[in-house]
């Protein structure tokens, strides 16, 4: 088959629907990556405009530009938009677009999940912006501290928009993180071992794992605060056994890793782009991978450094001060590795390189002021002043925006197939760089002179007038620079000349294809034997286009790829992707209906929306079943592989493992909250303890023990060719009994509105019941698949997935019952 014929056939198989209808049904990572990035930059413009309004307000003393109520909404939405709707989604978009290309595969692990995540993000973000347009946007600061954000001090719907909208958007982050983790570990080109993986993939993997463990505490905090606001469950109310400090712990358990979740992908961009700009290879690849991993872990031990002024004991301060200083070490290792890379290469000052130099200057200053605020006595002085605002902008703008601009200019020829024509970008960089430093250096100064954060006005006699005016002028220079970058990108997209393939002479796989990238990404999959495949085989793109790699012959209209062993990159299974579908957008719309009905207090819609999600989820997984045993699949190079439906650890199993990792973090944070309130919160012990019941406890634990054992038996019987249905039904019954015990706990919990103890038991019981229902639904689905002939001894992939969920439900359910009943017994 000729290359052109192959291109046409593959394009017909992989293409999205034409026209705007394709946006709603596409599951292709090329489209969705671009859609993510486009939407994220729309939000970036909105967030930037809000920043301009802040600077207009503060440019003069006693400013009457906006009243305090509106100003509160402006700065809250600026932080919220930039953190949740720009930074994280930009990483997601970049990773979704780039990873399959860098890894040498055709798409990500779960294309429909990518689409679902995008629509949750788009709908959730729109919800917040619509609230702002109607003047009912959140106004409690981007960290929503109670008691300010509680129903007593913030009546109205503003704070609810934040709590519910952000939780909706975070579904997207969790979905993308699962997607990225499984893709990096399993969906790589044959031969691409972990050692040969491009450095961006390491960073994406570490960041995705951080999202899975960093976001759940905030989701939990948002759920608890919304429950307090909507139903009066007093988790954060000190007079009823709650504690507002619990929110701060949950928020910063997310909030500090969030800084590194934002920085690490940008560091991945630098580690990819910098060696190309310096015409060399990355110095200290192993050191950089180790530093990224160390940074990820250490970042989870810093959260209390945002709480140094809350009155915690000195030992606690010392723990977190020590951890905060230590985190500078792996950051420094990366910085020195990049400097070493420049030293050993021949740096060329192309536009991406200018932004990387901007990153160096800005981020190092931000890092050094970070070490300053890690020192407790200094933090006590600078806390909640403009110095902190300036520090965080140096870290986030320096550590994310400059590298992302570098990445945009680097990969723009890949997105468009064109090369830079106008020279607007250089001038734009100069304006952005100088504008940024004028704005935020001045802000450090204002902070040291005592200007508080989030103030809407100040007096002339405070002595901050000139500094604020300088800062505001700088911000307008910065805004003009960013506007010029956007114009430059648009000019590039619409008017620039066609570019040759691989204009930077890079060595990574994303350049081994025609640009803009075709829908199928690779005409055939490469065999990778080096970390720099294009440097080793400059003609690789042509070889792959000729179909000389794996899966070079399009078959039966199928979207095919390979999955590999996670460490060695040895081909392991043959995977079929789903076709275009509107299911993800419909499902995210119904998920949105669930959140919206909670927000608007239309509680009668909630169960309907939940039922809708269940029906759609059922439809989603039903389409994965096979009626007949698939044969071994020829994938080229004389290699035959089993279908993913016939292996023990199918992609769905891996996805479940990482989704349950996030879920487990949520549960651990819930238990932490229970322990925190019990031991630290004022107003304990509660007036009434839970009345323990040995019968309920025994019944629930028995269900928790029986369910996974029965699933294990079902797996064994199915593998041996015996009927597994009865065992699956037993497992389903075990989960149901566990669910009943959790429901009983909820019903008998002491009045949940009168003390945080009862509220916590109610939430714990609800968590157990919710998971028991999921396990039962999965068991019911598996039973149906067995009855309808969708499983066999060979087609066994669904069994371990259901077993995993049943096991998780049993472990968490048993812990919940023990925590509730033992607390009653100990009292």
């Amino acid at each position: 088959m000729r290359a052109l014929e192959r291109h046409r056939k593959l394009s017909a198989i992989w293409a999205s629907e034409t026209g705007f209808r394709g946006w709603f049904s596409t599951v292709n990572h090329n489209d969705l990556g671009r859609m993510f990035l486009f939407t994220a930059f729309l939000f970036f413009i909105i967030g930037g405009l809000l920043a301009m309004l802040i600077r207009v307000q503060l440019a003069t003393p006693h400013s009457a530009f906006a009243g305090p109520e509106i100003y509160n909404q402006i700065f809250t939405m600026h932080g919220t938009v930039m953190m949740f709707l720009f930074a994280i989604p930009t990483f997601e978009g970049l990773a979704i677009y780039l990873l399959p290309k860098l890894l040498g595969t055709r798409d990500l692990a779960f294309p429909r999940l990518t689409a679902y995540g995008f629509w949750c993000y788009a709908f959730g973000g729109t919800m917040l912006i619509v609230a702002m347009v109607f003047g009912i946007a959140p106004d409690g600061g981007w960290f929503m501290y109670p008691p300010l954000s509680s129903a007593i001090h913030s009546p109205g719907i503003n704070a609810d928009f934040w709590l519910i909208g952000i939780t909706f958007v975070e579904i997207s982050a969790i979905a993308a993180a699962v997607e990225i983790t499984v893709s990096v570990l399993k969906y790589r080109a044959p031969g691409m071992s972990l050692e040969k993986m491009p450095i961006f993939a390491w960073y994406a993997l570490v960041t995705a794992l951080m999202i899975l463990t960093g976001f759940p505490p905030l989701i939990l905090g948002s759920v608890l605060l919304e429950l307090e606001r909507a139903f009066g469950l007093p988790f954060f109310q000190a007079d009823l056994g709650g504690d507002s400090l619990l929110w701060q712990h949950l928020f910063w358990l997310f909030g500090h890793p969030e800084v590194y979740i934002i920085f690490l992908p940008a560091a991945g961009v630098i580690s990819t782009v910098l060696p190309v700009m310096c015409r060399t290879t990355l110095l200290g690849y192993g050191w950089i991978v180790s530093a990224a991993l160390a940074l990820a872990f250490l970042s989870f031990g810093l959260w209390v450094h945002h709480m140094f002024t809350t009155g915690i004991p000195h030992l606690g301060l010392a723990f977190f001060s020590a951890a905060s200083t230590l985190v500078a070490v792996p950051t420094g290792v990366q910085i020195f590795a990049w400097i070493g890379t420049m030293w050993k290469g021949r740096p060329e000052l192309h536009l991406p390189m200018l932004h990387i130099l901007g990153f160096f200057v800005t981020f190092v200053i931000g890092g050094l002021t970070g070490v300053m605020v890690a020192v407790v006595p200094f933090d006590w002085q600078a806390h909640d002043t403009a110095f902190i605002t300036a520090h965080l902008h140096y870290v986030l703008f320096g550590g994310f925006v400059f590298p992302i601009f570098a990445g945009i200019y680097y990969w723009l020829p890949h997105f468009t197939g064109r090369r830079q024509f106008f020279r607007l970008g250089e001038l734009a960089f100069a304006l952005v760089f100088s504008g940024f430093h004028i704005t935020f250096l001045a802000m450090h100064w204002a902070g040291l002179l005592g200007q508080r954060r989030r103030i809407s006005a100040y007096a002339p006699e405070d002595g901050w007038t000139t500094i604020n005016l300088i800062s505001s002028v700088g911000s307008f220079i910065l805004a003009i620079g960013i506007a010029m970058i956007l114009i430059d990108v648009l000019l590039h997209v619409f008017t620039a000349r066609r570019s040759r393939r691989n204009p930077w002479n890079a060595s990574t796989l994303e350049w081994a294809m025609i640009t803009p990238a075709p829908a199928y990404t690779f005409a055939s999959l490469p065999q990778v034997s080096s970390r720099d495949p294009l440097a080793r085989e400059p003609e690789l793109a042509t070889t792959l286009a000729r179909g000389e790699g794996f899966l070079g012959t399009p078959r039966d209209g199928l979207r095919e790829t390979l999955a590999v062993d996670s460490a060695s990159g040895r081909p392991e299974m043959h995977v079929l992707y789903p076709a275009n579908t509107r299911l993800p957008i419909i499902m995210s719309a119904v998920t949105g209906l669930f959140f919206l009905s909670l927000l608007l207090k239309f509680y009668w819609i909630v169960p309907l929306a939940l039922a809708g999600v269940i029906v759609l989820a059922w439809k989603w997984v039903r389409s994965l079943g096979l009626r007949d045993d698939p044969a071994m699949q020829p994938v080229g190079h004389d290699l035959n592989l089993p279908s993913s439906a016939t292996v023990e650890r199918a992609p769905g199993w891996w996805g479940s493992v990482f989704l349950l990792t996030a879920n487990g973090t949520f549960f651990a944070a819930l238990l932490f909250g229970f322990a925190f309130l019990w031991t630290v919160a004022p107003g304990w012990p509660p007036p009434v303890w839970f009345t323990p019941s040995v019968a309920e406890l025994a019944l629930g634990v028995a269900g928790a023990v029986i369910a996974p054992l029965a699933m294990r038996r079902a797996i064994r019987r199915n593998r041996a060719g015996d009927a597994p249905l009865f065992s699956v039904l037993i497992a389903l019954s075990g989960s149901a009994v566990l669910g009943i015990a959790c429901a009983a706990l909820m019903l008998r919990a002491p009045a949940p509105t009168e003390h945080a103890y009862g509220s916590t038991l109610l939430v714990l019981g609800g968590y157990g019941l919710f998971h028991a229902i999921i396990a039962a639904l999965m068991g019911g689905f598996l039973a149906r698949q067995i009855r309808c002939g969708y499983t066999s001894a060979k087609r066994r992939a669904a069994f371990p997935i259901v077993a995993l969920w049943v096991k998780y439900t049993s472990i968490t359910g048993a812990i919940i019952l023990l925590a509730a009943h033992l607390s009653g017994m100990l009292s």
């Binding site: 991993l293 030992l315 951890a323």
Partner: protein, 105 residues
């Protein structure tokens, strides 16, 4: 997965021990003061898990250098040992205040 586990184990042990000792510190300070051989009880109780955490990190690092347990030569071996050193240094550095400072003031 074994390779990933080798890389992650030391930082994970650090994170668990760091969080657990911080939590234990909170619980102990809530239970009120006491003394043992002239030392506050809280401090005595807190130092034991710190020593245990350091011992775990040392054993893990030792294992990462043994041919029987170490990763195959190359990047994974380097990264897993770097992770081992990170875990040990982080444990000693971040938990050192338990030895140097009073517990509940």
């Amino acid at each position: 997965m074994t390779e990933i586990f080798r890389i992650l184990i030391a930082p994970l042990v650090w994170f668990v021990s760091f969080s657990a000792i911080y939590g234990l510190h909170g619980v102990l300070c809530e239970t009120g003061p006491g003394a043992f051989e002239g030392w506050p009880v809280q401090r005595v109780v807190l130092i034991s898990p710190v020593l245990l955490a350091i011992a775990l990190q040392v054993v893990n690092l030792w294992m990462l250098y043994q041919p029987r347990f170490t990763a195959p030569a190359g990047l994974l071996r380097f990264v897993s040992r770097a992770g081992g050193w990170t875990g040990l240094v982080a444990t000693v550095w971040t938990l050192f205040p338990v030895v140097a400072l009073s517990a509940c003031t």
